[in-house]
Symmetry: C2
């Protein structure tokens, strides 16, 4: 299928690198607000059609799928417009800035009968597919608790979008979405109770710790931040053992240990950058005429957006 890339920053470059791994997929067009950066990106990746107006791209280009890679404050308008022009969309996380916006996008995708998926790349790594099989096998009984962290160092800069509320700043929505979505994946459901504590600066959270209750009395504790690099580890407690996934957002290993038994390592390596798995999955879904992914379903994106809104309601007071 033919794709377009909307946004020409870091993640768009990672996407272009990943898509080289996939046969029969072409990127025909790109959108960038800044002409110079757009040209540099298109020259680098040999992309012909270049747009500094995304609506023109949606109208004129014959591409059928959009990879949405602009800053998340504009995901809503860029995705909504694409859906209304009948384009399928793979949109970077978070798909929008609130529960309401996310719901409106899902509504628009369904109305326009196009495919929409939040680009939760963690779900598509081979080791996470293995993990989901392992959970279904109930070898260790059911999972009861997930403990996961994702914090990285980003020097404070009051003008940078991470630290500006008006530009969608804050670590919970930017980074905390990963451990939260991971817990939702492990339990196969959404949280029904949320408690959070954050360190705020100018109405933006620099560090957030949050607790989630899931149905059947499962729980998750997550930690996220822009200050200090954390282990980025998912520690899953089952009824009869534990599974640890080091570097869970970009993983190749699971460390499993039954109660009272010996630790065992399982490794499933892959070629970098790793984004190719979610792209392949989106391609497959669209080819088969699916309007959403069974692995990253739209109701889950809505539920995760709702959970993040509730965290912010609590920590902003």
């Amino acid at each position: 299928m033919n794709w377009a890339v909307v946004g020409v920053g870091n993640i768009a470059n990672v996407f272009m690198k990943a898509i080289q791994h996939i046969p029969d997929v072409k990127v025909l067009a790109a959108y960038g607000r800044n002409r110079e950066k757009l040209d540099a990106f298109c020259d680098k990746w040999n992309i012909k059609e270049r747009y500094t107006d995304y609506e023109q791209l949606y109208k004129q280009s014959s591409v059928s799928v959009i990879y949405l890679a602009t800053p998340h404050i504009v995901h809503f308008e860029h995705t909504m417009s694409a859906l209304e022009h009948g384009k399928h969309v793979l949109c970077e996380k978070p798909m929008a800035m609130s529960f309401e916006e996310t719901e409106a996008l899902v509504y628009a995708a369904r109305k326009n009968k196009v495919f929409l998926m939040e680009a939760m790349w963690t779900r598509f790594f081979p080791i996470n597919k293995w993990l989901m099989e392992f959970i279904r096998s109930e070898e260790f009984g059911k999972p009861v608790n997930v403990n996961a962290d994702f914090s990285f160092e980003y020097p404070y800069d009051k003008d940078y979008r991470f630290f500006r509320r008006d530009l969608g700043g804050g670590c919970m929505r930017s980074a905390g979405i990963y451990p939260l979505a991971y817990a939702c994946m492990v339990f196969g459901c959404l949280p029904d109770e949320i408690k959070a504590i954050a360190q705020m600066k100018n109405e933006v959270d620099l560090r957030t710790a949050a607790l989630f209750r899931f149905p059947k009395d499962c729980t998750a504790e997550i930690y996220t931040g822009f200050q200090g690099e954390s282990q980025c580890m998912a520690n899953i407690a089952f009824e009869k053992g534990t599974v640890v996934i080091p570097e869970f957002i970009h993983p190749d290993t699971a460390i499993i240990k039954p109660c009272g038994g010996e630790e065992k390592r399982i490794s499933l390596l892959y070629e970098e950058p790793g984004l190719q798995f979610e792209i392949e999955h989106a391609e497959d879904c669209i080819r088969m005429g699916k309007k959403e992914s069974p692995i990253m379903p739209l109701n889950e994106s809505i539920g995760i957006a709702r959970a993040i809104d509730l965290v912010y309601e609590q920590v902003r007071g």
Copy 2:
């Protein structure tokens, strides 16, 4: 010095094993409610004086230090009486069943000018001493988040003390005190905000997840339970790196990693059972005329008891 052991269950046996490592320390007396079990214990460990009435022990025996190893529902009465008889006390965790009881014990210890310490053995392992030095060095900047879990499998039995509120049941006070006290140790202070979620049965928590805010915007997330064995791992995020302590309640290893750098393992092995370090420390304090430990101070025991009370207030509704 001469010690007595009050209580003759599992942990009393571990204590006796540990005390064999320490020169110049003798256990002269023991108390047990059940004559048969008391005799079996004393025969095994060659203890002469045997009491089925703890007040008799406190009155008649010439021992100067009591190791308090009875079930925690009776810690308060057994410790209070010992303090009032002028005995120094090393009391198993939790030292009492509430903030108020803990405060009363501390008051009694100070009034009677005797040594009192909660037996938080985790603090005295060589690797944890190393960790405290490492934190003071600020090599990785300051610690900002602690993520720790301690859950073990104990089959549900409505008559067993773990599962009876009237016998001091519940995982937060029995097991959750370890990760909570560990976070207090790392930050060198007590939490000032608490949020918790628990799975309750007959007013007793079977699994608890809790979030703590510490001064200077530090946070901790803990998980504890009687259902399913967890990793028992402390994952500490610093400003400039991470430290993981596997099996943090009984540890010999630290895995340290600076931001962007390589992982390194530090091991400090010891002879089992490991309880000897806290016993040596209590001995040293008492010999030097100290009335409390600088490593496990009484105000910290009070603060931890208060934090646990607040968790229960929240989860019991």
